[in-house]
Point group: C3
Chain length 281, copies 3
């Protein structure tokens, strides 16, 4: 694994890495034998767009980490400038009826698994993290971000509406006044701004330093009973988790209704065109 | 209109103003043709006391602004030292049975319209803003306040209880600890204190500067899809809006029961006497 | 009473103290005749462990203070280094079936009485305040803490889970992000850290100064209508109070199920052994 190789070159990285054998293709899980912490890396070129396959792999990797009794989970990206570009618009533009249902269901599943994860979670945000990327980061318990990137829920800028549970993740990190304003503005925060407002907890100069700081955060639970910790976290997050659990079907229908509006399809089409032009330049 | 005239004298105010023809008498709506932002001015001498008529006019003006697809709404006062003195005590002291019901219902309607408004909202707080005045200000998304005035929910000092939805507006702006303490104390904040604690977002030296800063805030939504923005805001505020929607009847009965207590009537009577004495001096 | 004697030696303490005649044995209530403020002192050596008896006395003293129309309630400890060590583990280790039910019910009652108290409440935290001690302190409206002590909900470090209503008290004081992290970590804050994060409101050099600052806080309600204040506070805290009221039976069963797990009993046994060893050294 490239990831392992890179890390093995860094002098201060301690412990050996064990790559788990999994059937996932778009994520990798590496457990540090010394610390027991699992690093979950998203690896779907070019921008870690969250499509059906990546979401399913994410969920499977989270389940695997829970099952292996890891000491913690660090979420990061194999891409040097993008953590995750968010939901893959190709899943929403002129969507296949069956696939788009499976896609949204996989997104719900991935969020329920990550936000409700029993192990300590941290995000090493080593690149831009808009929309769904920000959702993943704010679903973790801690965030360390590299400089000169941006993070935020910018859905309104794309003409779409972040569902209630995106807001829940955001509100578990930001005060109401800040959260509402940023959501309405579709605001992307620079690393410095995110640090200032509390959207991320620490800045780090390199990915390795970010992983190290995430590991230090997870280390603060070393003397804590893991079962009591898991029950405490899940009780703290119960209202938000239960809300989606009990409204999954309506949440799906709401998304399908919204995404099938001609105006929304048109907006997504224009956005896709602009992406293509950018790619050419 | 006096308001238009005053503004036309200010060199840096840009754009022309269009006064909407409406049947309201206690509020005026002016839309800036250049920015598309509507300024909603409360104009009920002497202190913009929120009585049945002003509340109905407020609600109608908000509806008009929504209907005209304005880019935003700025709420302000024609009075140079008072934004709004809050609920008109004359509506609550020795009240007529039918009118007091209509009064409270109009207050509920005005709050639902303003707090749930689909357009960006900001308050240019150009004077004191106690009780109901603070409710209106905190129902907006942004607040700019002139110096040397005060703002707060001071109901407990008058011997009355701010209903749950007043608290909701307050809590959408302040942290719980600060909100509860200020509510219990009936605390009025100076402009500086309000700025420090986050009850207002910016200070401005003049009303024109306050209007300008409100317009700048509304301008941050220029590149945002207005429908996605409106749905996002309403989803964010849904729990509070739905709570009052579903409890309107009980909320009204609770208010009527409370206001008809002899001790409350006596307290209001004493307060009215003190106001009369002040007026004489 | 030792408490009265000590206070009478302090030159700046004003007013005389009246000790109420009560049937409680582990708490004392003294009302300052001048200020009308009641000081409720926990006095169960060696560490104010919250057992069935202390919890019942606490609740009775709170009821007495409410009944006597005191101007406010200051909660403190007769122990010079411990505010309260939290729940008495002897009530949970190899528990008697009937007594452990009565114990948890008394804890629910004490919290409902303190968190929902109609009079202004403040805690003079004159010693360490872990777990249940922190619950009592955060159920008050204001906290003044002496230096070099610690406070926090450290349940996860003991292998137990703070119930939802412990979290409610914590969340009425801390932002979500800080509250969740501290809960999961079982973090104990020093006085300085607690002040920084807002877990306490002021620091004081001595117990007398802490009592004085608590009295000053209660004095901020001097010009407030006490009935309107009480209704406002209770409305603000209604959701949390109603949640426990409506789920008391399930909350009790949840606690009994958890506490009777062999792993939890084993953990408590180990913890008790470590306490005994400490006591010997």
């Amino acid at each position: 694994m490239l990831r392992s190789k890179l890390l093995s070159l860094v002098p201060r990285a301690t412990g050996s890495f064990r790559t788990m054998s999994t059937t996932t293709k778009l994520t990798t899980v590496e457990v540090n034998d010394k610390t027991g912490i699992a690093t979950l890396t998203m690896n779907r070129p070019p921008v870690n767009g969250l499509n059906l396959d990546l979401l399913r792999d994410l969920r499977q990797s989270i389940a695997e980490i829970e099952g292996n009794k890891s000491r913690g989970l660090i979420l990061t990206s194999s891409n040097p400038t993008i953590f995750s570009a968010g939901l893959d618009i190709m899943e929403m533009y002129k969507p296949d009826k069956e696939r788009v249902r499976a896609f949204w269901t996989a997104l719900q599943d991935a969020w329920l698994a990550l936000y409700g994860s029993s192990v300590p979670t941290a995000a090493a945000i080593n690149g831009h993290s808009p929309a769904g990327g920000c959702l993943l980061a704010t679903s973790c318990e801690y965030r360390v971000m590299l400089p000169k990137f941006t993070i935020g829920l910018n859905e309104t800028k794309l003409g779409i509406v972040a569902p209630m549970w995106f807001m829940s993740s955001f509100l578990s990190v930001l005060p109401r006044r800040e959260a509402e304003r940023a959501l309405n503005q579709g605001r992307m925060f620079t690393t410095d701004e995110a640090l200032q407002i509390g959207l991320v907890d620490e800045a780090a100069g390199t990915k390795e330093e970010a992983l190290e700081k995430c590991a230090q955060f997870i280390g603060t639970f070393a003397k804590v009973n893991p079962i009591a910790r898991a029950l405490t976290k899940q009780q703290f997050r119960a209202a938000e988790l239960e809300q989606l659990e009990s409204e999954r079907a309506q949440d799906l229908e709401k998304f399908l209704f919204f995404i099938n509006q001609p105006a929304v399809q048109k907006g997504l089409g224009i956005y896709l065109e602009s992406l293509k032009k950018k790619a050419k330049n």
